[in-house]
Amino acid sequence: MGRYVIRRLLQMVPVFIGSTFLIFFMVYALGDPVAALFGDKAPDPATAARIRQELYLDEPLWKQYGHYMGQILSGEFGTAFNGQPVTELMAGAFPVTLRLTLVAILFEIVFGITLGVLSGLRRGRSADTTVLLLTLIVVSIPTFVSGYVLQYLFGVKWGIVSPSVSPEAPFDELLLPGIVLALTSLAYVTRLSRTSIAENSRADYVRTAVAKGLPRRRVVTRHLLRNSLIPVVTFIGTDVGALMGGAIVTERIFNIHGVGFQLYQGILRQNSPTVVGFVTILVIVFLLANLLVDLLYAVLDPRIRYA
């Protein structure tokens, strides 16, 4: 187990270097960001040259990348154009997005799995059909539509919540954005767990458990659910990474100043330190979430062993 984890962690190093370089290269390929700093006016050549020099933009790409990686290894992520260190931006943005992701994941787990189990056990009956229909509808509505509609209904029409989230972004204000963010994934979780449950409820071990005379509750939670959760856990694990980086739309709608906001701003202003820095952290989150999922397999299914 320990050796497996170490091997996996070592495998992350090339992935990390490769992905940061790709992102660095892509932001670089967008062109010279200094030209956009002067608005409608033509950039003053002397000032523009000084700014480029300060940001190492006058060096060739490989030198810029080398300089940037050197900085990162010493824990220095560079500065955004407005003079803020990127680490400061991260310290502000990541906790907010993490809270939002937490709310969304909790919704997915609680409602998604519950609905999935209910419809899986009642396969083919009206409850199952209703849930299937509902998930179909939810999956087909894009996030920005559900976001704006729910925001208008809850925020303006009924005045139950504030339409936008304050900069501190406490949990209570993140409930609605969290639901919006979770909706699509929630539908997938429901469907995944439904299929899995429906399949496994005819498995031999379930029949054995029932034949042993175990109470139905114990059969479902201990035997059926635990074995059926493996695909669901895989999905939720990868979803953590996707939700953290992909909350751009939701964060814009509800004015949440999280990772999505900073990434959007960084891309718009072609600020490579911001974009690469944030994506680097996201890559790490994604890799770790995947590792955690793989380890969870062993917990859920004793037949799986890592040596």
Binding site: L30, G31, D32, V34, A35, A36, L37, F38, G39, D40, K41, A42, P43, D44, P45, A46, T47, A49, R50, I51, E54, F81, N82, G83, Q84, E88, L89, G92, R99, Q151, Y152, G155, V156, W158, G159, I160, V161, S162, P163, S164, S166, P167, E168, A169, P170, F171, D172, L175, E251, R252, I253, F254, N255, H257, F261, Q262, Q265, L268, R269, Q270
Partner: protein, 539 residues
Amino acid sequence: MRGATRARWAVCALSAVLAAAAAGCGGGGGGSGVVRASWGDPQNQLEPANTNEVQGGKVLAMIFRGLKRYDPRSGAAENMLADKIETSDQQNFTITLKDGWTFSNGEKVTSKSFVDAWNYAALVDNKQKNASFFEYVDGYDKVHPASGRATAKTLSGLAVKDDKTFTVRLRTKFSTWPDTLGYAAYAPLPRAFFDDHAAWLRKPVGNGPYTIDSYAKGSAMKLTRWDGYPGDDKARNSGVELRVYTDNNTAYTDLQAGNLDLVDDIPSAQLKNAKTDLGDRYINQPAGIIQTLVFPMYDPNWSKSGMEKVRRGLSMAINRQQITDQIYQKTRTPATDWTSPALGDQGGYKAGLCGDACTFDAASAKKLIQDGGGLPGGRITLTSNVDTGSHRVWMDAVCNSINSALGNDKACIVNPVGTFADFRNQISEQRLSNPFRSGWQMDYPLIQNFLQPLYYTDASSNYGKFSDPQFDKLVDEANAEGSQAAANAKFHDAEKILAREMPAIPLWYQNGSAGYSDRVSDVTLNPFSVPVYEQIKVG
């Protein structure tokens, strides 16, 4: 609303129990008398000479006052800190300051506050984006050489006489130069700016009607009225809270929900509803912005003789009225010259200088283009960045307008560019061989600002490289005139040359739009489309 508040508290308490995260519960709201306004994250640090966009400009307009100030209504430059600005030759100016002005930290505003600030702004080492505003001052080429190191630290054209007087020597004659001094880049700076720069940037200190209470970069800024402010434009509210919004749709929703008092950028999708939603709390007035289509005059295909007919013909083929009505819901006005109505008569605006060339007339357009030898290569391409401002939409409309005027489906095509930076690079490297968009937002409400930087030979923002000796001569003469009226007349003559040569097609004047809640009143936008915060009354 009672029920709503209670529900919010209940949710708040619930989450506090669940997650033990009581932080921020309740918060928000702002005290009574505070204006809650939408904001965007300023692109640059908030130094006066480094702020060239409207978001940072909002803050500077609240915490700084310069020698002159532009009247929020008429745009006319009026003395603020300056007692008088005198010249006998339009080139050497003596500036005398009024008594009694201090910074909010108690330091007196002296002539040194100005000279130090200007020297800081002009020095190339300080990388100030508005440095070029000081190019008219003698000695600018020493502190800001086009390449290499600065050979002087200070502008030789500036000299402090005493605490209240300083002199400025310009490179050339520039009669209306004093009227440019209302721009934020010319603001005075306190010693604190130079002594502890980092601390000043975290919480800027100025001499305007507001002081900064707290500044959370990227999310919010709270400003309070400065009770010791010596000017007569004291704040009529107790403070302003600026909130950063990433999406102006959300700001608009917050305004509807009563969480926000002022939105100064109505999303284009909501323009149709804004009038019915807000009634007379919707503002739509001219701002000092014009959009044009610039011809690449550096390309002989466009500059050879005879092509002026094609350029004029293309201008006449555009149905401006239809586009501004249908796409922009009248938040743009068809342009009839190369300046802006926001200048007012005094600033030099005169409608209709473009004449027939800016009036839609499909038949004449087609004839003119044929007379001129047709479109180069049989067709044209319009280029613009499309990341903001619904540029893609109007480009399509302009192309349709041209195509139908010429009776040719393929006469005009659109070349959208993904980012502004990329677009800007293509322009500055002269890679475009067809007309491209150019927007211009005025720095100060003078006709000079709309003409000289854009169409004078080799001027800084003359992207199309238009050059006409007669135009240059008229601009020089205008700058040497003693009175503003005489200068304006010369500039109008210069505009007539533009109408003949058509180096850029004037498309439309851009308006500033804003909406406000019923909690506030007396909301106006100044000619730079920045809300006049100090005049807003709450309650």
